[in-house]
């Protein structure tokens, strides 16, 4: 049986194209301003996201810091919420991401939060389902909050830039 969410997401591109009147010999929407991913794309992004969130959870579980317990709860909820979306799409979570040789220190937490922000910023426009995009936006905002709270706790400036891009734009440094 196809779940309601899966059916709606899968049917949406056809509805969108029909609504635009796209057909043989007609102009189609400019590709760069249209999301072209669909349900399978959402599944793959979410599987990658869960692996990343699990790595964050493992880091906070191993971290000796006042904020670690609370932030582990936050990451655990992210994993649960994303897993529930995937279950609705009849897909399994992806494997846990290898955290590599990252040590469970405060700098590693800053680094992993910055990476998470960069990941979600890249993923958001690619997500097709609006409800999933909405959840992802809420997670991105929470990751940005965690980064600022960590920086504050470490005596660093929590407000590094007006647009948050993650570690690729030195926010986590």
């Amino acid at each position: 049986m196809v779940s309601r969410r899966r059916f709606v997401v899968a049917a949406a591109p056809a509805v969108l194209l029909a609504g635009c009147g796209a057909g043989a010999g007609e102009d189609v929407p400019e590709p760069k301003t249209r999301r072209v991913t669909s349900v399978q794309g959402d599944i793959e992004l979410l599987q990658g996201a869960i692996g990343r969130e699990r790595a964050e959870l493992a880091l906070y579980e191993a971290l000796d810091h006042d904020l670690a317990g609370r932030f582990a709860e936050v990451e655990r909820e992210h994993v649960e919420r994303l897993t529930a979306v995937l279950a609705d799409l009849e897909a399994a979570p992806g494997p846990a991401q290898d955290a590599g040789a990252r040590r469970a220190g405060a700098d590693a937490a800053l680094e992993i939060e910055g990476e998470a922000i960069a990941f979600w910023l890249d993923a958001l426009p690619k997500l097709y389902d609006p409800a999933t995009r909405s959840l992802a936006a809420g997670i991105l905002a929470a990751e940005a909050e965690q980064l600022a709270a960590l920086r504050l706790a470490l005596g660093r400036d929590p407000l590094t830039e007006p647009f948050v891009y993650g570690w690729t734009r030195h926010a986590a440094r």
């Binding site: 760069k32 301003t33 249209r34 999301r35 609370r70 932030f71 709860e73 936050v74 990451e75 909820e77 992210h78 919420r81 922000i117 979600w120 910023l121 958001l124 426009p125 609006p130 409800a131 995009r133 909405s134 959840l135 936006a137 809420g138 997670i139 991105l140 905002a141 929470a142 990751e143 940005a144 909050e145 965690q146 980064l147 600022a148 709270a149 504050l152 929590p158 407000l159 830039e161 007006p162 647009f163 948050v164 891009y165």
Partner: protein, 188 residues
């Protein structure tokens, strides 16, 4: 309540509303992405005014005043980015508030109950800012689900993260949990 006090309150309320009509009564509200951006831009303009007022008031301590100055710069940068994209869609940028009354009318139009006109100390500014930031986050959160253009989604995503960080600074300043929710959706 005596008649003079009622008259004063009524006059103040009218003055606060005078510069702008309520959102529901405005003519030709833009639709689609432009409509979403117009509302967001009003929130950014109101926030920039709140932070600038807080700095100018001298009611914040040195550290908080410095943070408020940075927050005002952030909001102005957000407003500039959103205004550019709104105008590219053919929308008209709202006028920024010039007085506390205009800022309060803008806040009221966004459904924010806190008022600059009622602020008498530094904590008051923080609470107005906190209420406005939570609404701004909610607006961006809803926008990201509704916007059609991926470039607008990306801009909104980079700003919602920044607004979340603003919330952390404000919550820390008033002594509340800096990250109270695993999924930050603000408050509508």
């Amino acid at each position: 309540m005596d008649a003079t006090r009622r008259a004063l309150i009524a006059a103040a309320a009218l003055a606060a509303l005078a510069p702008r009509a309520p959102r529901a009564a405005r003519a030709a509200e833009p639709a689609g992405d432009a409509g979403v951006l117009t509302t967001i831009l009003e929130a950014e303009l109101a926030l920039a005014y709140v932070y600038a007022s807080a700095v100018a008031s001298g009611l914040l301590g040195e550290e908080l005043a410095e943070a408020a100055g940075t927050l005002a710069e952030h909001e102005r940068a957000h407003a500039a980015a959103i205004a550019t994209q709104l105008e590219a869609l053919g929308g008209r940028r709202p006028d920024p508030p010039q007085t506390p009354e205009e800022a309060d009318a803008m806040l009221a139009g966004l459904g924010i109950e806190a008022r600059l006109g009622a602020v008498s100390d530094g904590d008051g500014f923080l609470r107005v800012a906190l209420a406005a930031e939570r609404v701004a986050v909610a607006l961006y959160h809803r926008a990201i689900a509704r916007l059609e253009d991926v470039r607008l989604i990306q801009t909104a995503a980079s700003i919602i993260g920044a607004e979340g960080q603003h919330l952390v600074v404000l919550r820390d300043a008033i002594g509340s949990d800096p990250v109270p929710s695993a999924v930050e959706i603000g408050q509508s």
